[in-house]
Amino acid sequence: MSQAVLQIRKMSGHPGPVPGANVERAEQVCKLIDTTTCIGCKACEVACLEWNGYPFTDTTFDNTYQTMPETTWKYWNLIKFNEHEREDGTLMLLMRKDQCMHCADPGCLAACPADGAIVQYANGIVDFQQEHCIGCQYCVTGCPFNIPKFNPETKKVFKCTLCSDRVAVGLEPACIKACPTGCLHFGTKDDMKDLAETRSKQLRDHFGFEKAGVYDPPGVGGTGVIYVLHDATNPEAYGGLPKDPHVPWVVRLWKGPAKWIGNFAMLFGVLGVTLHYLRFGPKVVHDKDSKQGEAKKGERP
């Protein structure tokens, strides 16, 4: 039996060096979604539910083929459908697998106030640790892709984990395993970027999609999930993929300057009170006040 999960050190009857020996792989992992070969079969949605142990929920019809209008706390992976009319009058049925983008500079992590509730692993996966989550939902505000979803029953926030449990033992995420057309790829960020560039060049040169390109937004420091789009100049057509996503400025202000201003204000407040005490001494009770106080005392039986 071959143990593909483990790294091989020695190999019998193998000419030359052992493939993959003496290699330390601490690289960024990445999922590549080629929207041009997606057929919208939703196998990834089912695989996601099965692997993560969630039951299938009732579907919501909103005049598209989508399972529901947007992802929920127990439905992390959703293919978004859009009937897109192109400038030349032809129609395209665009499908995009929507899930956590695993940003290199995650807005959810920046916004989270709880110690260790959101972590970014060395391989780039952004994961929520629900046992540390305090249910404040600041991560929902911080995410430019509207991905973290709140479970009102347990007061915790959930989202796609890029199957960190599978990736940790050398397997690909469940959605990639299930994809029947091979439009989902998984590997290191560099490999996936190369593959994405090759594919978009192919689309530009041979398929007439002149604006085809790769979606890897620099506004959030690049993402751990990248797309190949028919028209990279108009990502909004793919079920509202933001053109230039950024962590909201409110979160940046609050976690950056405002935090420091608050800390300094508190420090100077305490310092001012201390200096006032040293200079003017403790607060003295005036006669008028004390009389009133005595009078009130006297009223009591």
């Binding site: 019809f61 909103d62 005049n63 009937e83 009319e85 129609l91 049925l93």
Partner: protein
């Protein structure tokens, strides 16, 4: 899309599809993908209903347990040579309910 605008049907509305044989109640999915055709100078609209259901329909009337099947709409006509059923081309009336 054009037909839906003409009849005032929006996505998620309940519609009744009636043929010479039976009727069927379904949810409307307004799409740009099926375009009207011009046949013999007349504008003909086309609608589609997904098939593959049990002996009771999963359409929207009677709590997804309806007795009027989609298959009752279609004519029992077969190709004389191969006996392939002619189920896709027939006339229906579409209305909002």
């Amino acid at each position: 899309m054009e037909l839906a605008n003409e009849l005032g049907i929006k996505g998620n509305d309940r519609v009744k599809v009636t043929s010479a044989r039976s009727y069927y109640i379904a949810k409307a999915f307004v799409t740009k993908r099926i375009k009207p055709m011009t046949i013999d100078g007349k504008k003909i609209y086309q609608i589609g209903i997904p098939i593959h259901q049990g002996y009771r329909g999963i359409q929207e009337d009677e709590e997804r347990n309806a007795r009027t099947l989609l298959n009752r709409l279609s004519p029992t006509v077969t190709d004389p040579n191969a006996y392939t059923p002619e189920l896709k081309g027939f006339l229906v009336k579409l209305e909002k309910v």
